[in-house]
Symmetry: D2
Subunit: 291 residues, 4 copies
């Protein structure tokens, strides 16, 4: 995505020890691999090692399937606990977006796709309201309306089943909750783990849950924030991918905070999504390494 | 715009002296005016006084026409040099947007209108290319294509004449150059003075003119910026309305800077436009007071 | 403090109604008062009005005592609930600083006094450790050591009594807890209400209490913060005066966060103290208006 | 400096090609080297490769002298143009600071040394005024006064000769111009190349030269900045190490800008110095890579 040049992106996490860099670099060099970008991180607290490598696809004598087969051996030699993946940037990443009524994040993502900044395939936008159907379809993207009945637990279960089917049918690399105002059931969180990105409109862990701008206004904070995180079963408690803040003062009503906050929600979500799709994020426990 | 409540917004600049606040406040209070927001600034360098007042329309016993007539007397008593205006927020502000190929600022503004964050009337979008015709029309807004011939001075003059006609026909309160890549002729700058807002993709006065991100990359700066300013005859030298920056590092190519820079261009332009339309900006010499 | 020119600073909070601005401005203008700076704020939620006015002392025909007497009448006419004060910038503000071992905030404040940026009279520095005695005395400021015994409740009570005596003997306009690591007893919080400023090393309300950087590191946040607030009986829950944040990433250990955090603690505390001493802060309920 | 653990820090720049990472990592791994931190960067514009590696000293079977001898062979094999260095964190870094009258940067650095945040040996502070003699000596650091006569070119030459002698006698790893207001002669710039760090009180390349805050005030910018750069013969044009900005508005006089600007000057200089002493900065042409 960062360039038109096709690349293979290797991500690996494993217990730390000497020689990991040499082993991986040696493996790639032997095969003639041209490493375009390489990042490493050792976490002394968990004694875990993280790396991400971008290799020019045309520098290797084989394709991604063979690379995966060969790298699996390297990873296994490093540790039985190695957690790795290899992504081929030649394949367009598939994205499904979930929305409710607020359109600022969707508009922002559509604008980035239109400008080719995000070279992704938005397979579908799914909304529990129809407010964003028309802007979605104006971009030639299917919009699905899945209404969520209020105070009807069974109806909700059915709605989530329909939602899941619509999402899963597209095998998305990322499921983006772009101000989607329904709380995902635990099993969906589990099945979409590591692929579902949410934008929460506060600087977590402050102001978890509903109406965070109201909470912020009540507490009289001088900065408001937004947090992009992976969705987990515990509400607003998943691994944090990115955060940012914007200044407010006594003059700002809740409505002003909502308005100002949108500008950081948009950009924080867009950065998080970009990093996710570029395979820059490694999750370990409840924390992220972002290369 | 900040609320559904109708208001009259008074802006005044005049030579500084004692008693200005008392005079204006006294005038408004006598008429029963409920001042919702009031700002004052004295500039010791130029000995100039600036104020902006928001009054609830329903608190006055007369309308905006009468208010203007009466306030004119107050302003004249304060000084023969008083420069003032009164805007009625009940009348929707009219905006014309000029674009070229880059769509991020236009998308951003359309998104803000869609969400009702900007409650404005975009009368037309005019482009010297057609890239943004379809997204414009998807919002029910007229798009006009005015091609600018390369290396054809006479053709350019004709194009600007057509552009001007299309703009002026809409009597816009703001003319937004949303990454419009043609330099306005001096007489247009003069005629649109105080109404034409440009977004320049650098932290002015650094990197005036063409390809500022290339200049920034070459110089090795650690932050890049964007500047919203009023258009004047001297290129990129008009009164600055708003600026912001974003961090870059040695890893960022020119293309990365272009991408990151867009996120601040959008928000800086949107803030500048909002403040302009809310009558928050007072220009004095080549500087702005933003209340 | 902002200038060598002597000024009277009027702060007022009262229930909102029409005509307040006119009344105050009229009162000052009648006396010939030259208003150098004027700020107003109406809070629609609490229906409360706030103002701060800076008047040139030499523009009034009387001194601060008479001004207070006359303004008292104005304030009372506005409302029986008016809460106001008038400060004479001609009198140097008196400050007492409480410290423990960490010296970055003290160094920072001493540097600002040395450069005349803060034109204040630091009457004393009081520490429950002696680490900062020598730098304090090098500036000709008395340092008092008040040890706080561990696990000795009675000893603590005695220590706080001694601390209080040392502080109160100086009648300070501000009591600065510059990383003072003892929790003030409730009655001291009450007696010093509105004068005791604390710097907490987190972006409140996140990470209240002990070891906030450890908490932040554990949660994996991408920004850390600092908060300057007035001390109240509830720990880290007083009215927030100022906050700021700095970016961290997965590479940052707790020690790195401590180091980076210091840079914002210093500046946030210094801003808060400056605003307090310039009479820029109006507290209402648990929130602040900062003009 | 980042830890008490002794480390060897390897910096290398050379023409880019495949296999560099593998070669260096292989060399270190063979010797049993435990790489604690590793960074890489390829610059496609200049086709240059940069790396920095931190190795635990106790993981190698030999000392820094032998490491340098052996690494020299590796570097030469990579390219005849390799530019590299190896620093032993066990040896305290030596620093000389040049000052004039303004003390905020000096205070800041002294505070960081006092708190052990900067574990460095400040060999001397040299001032062309005596304002900062007393605070320097209160820290047990020698202060040298080298007056610079006004309008006396020969006197200036003599003063610079004396300055140079005082600096060079300490063989400093860094020469810090902490708001030193004399322009270094070309030959000093050359001899101290890559070791002399300046803090300029503007966001370069805006407002080069004298009185940048006055220039900024005149232009009406909405943010002011500070830049830490290596000193070169061309004034304020050396490789930029770090920059930051702070918001200002129409209310800020030049004096306010000076005051606000100090807070970023301090922190930008401290960051730049830290990175320099941690061998994090690689200069190539007029740009820096900061790992």
């Amino acid at each position: 995505m960062p360039s038109n040049e096709r690349r293979y992106v290797i991500k690996l996490g494993c217990p730390d020890r000497t020689g990991i860099v040499a082993k991986i670099a040696g493996f790639l060099t032997e095969a003639g691999g041209w490493i375009v970008e390489a990042d490493y991180h050792s976490d002394p607290d968990t004694n875990w090692f993280f790396t991400r490598q971008e290799v020019r696809a045309d520098s290797l004598p084989y394709g991604v399937v063979e690379l995966r087969k060969r790298f699996a051996l390297v990873a296994r030699e490093l540790s039985g606990q190695s957690d790795w993946s290899i992504v081929d940037t030649g394949a367009k990443r598939r994205v499904v977006i979930l929305v409710s009524k607020e359109g600022h994040c969707l508009y922002d993502l559509l604008g980035r796709v239109h400008s080719s900044e995000l070279d992704i395939d938005i397979r579908a936008v799914i909304g529990n309201h129809t407010d964003l159907a028309s802007i979605t379809r104006a971009h030639g993207i299917p919009f699905h309306h899945v209404p969520f009945p209020v105070a009807d637990p069974e109806g909700k279960v059915a709605a989530f089943a329909q939602l899941r089917q619509l999402v899963d049918a597209n095998s998305p690399d990322a499921i983006v909750l772009a101000r989607f105002m329904q709380v995902l059931p635990t099993e969906l969180c589990a099945d979409w783990a590591g692929r579902a990105l949410n934008i929460h409109h506060s600087f977590l862990p402050s102001f978890v849950g509903a109406r965070p701008y109201h909470q912020a206004h009540k507490r009289g904070v001088k900065l408001i924030g937004a947090t992009c995180h992976y969705v987990t079963a515990e509400l607003d408690a998943g691994p944090i991918v990115e955060q940012d803040v914007i200044r407010v003062d006594h003059d700002d009503s809740v409505a002003d905070m909502v308005r100002k906050g949108r500008d950081i929600e948009k950009v924080v979500l867009a950065r998080g999504l970009r990093w996710h799709l570029e395979s820059r994020i490694l999750v370990h426990g409840n924390k992220t390494v972002v290369f």
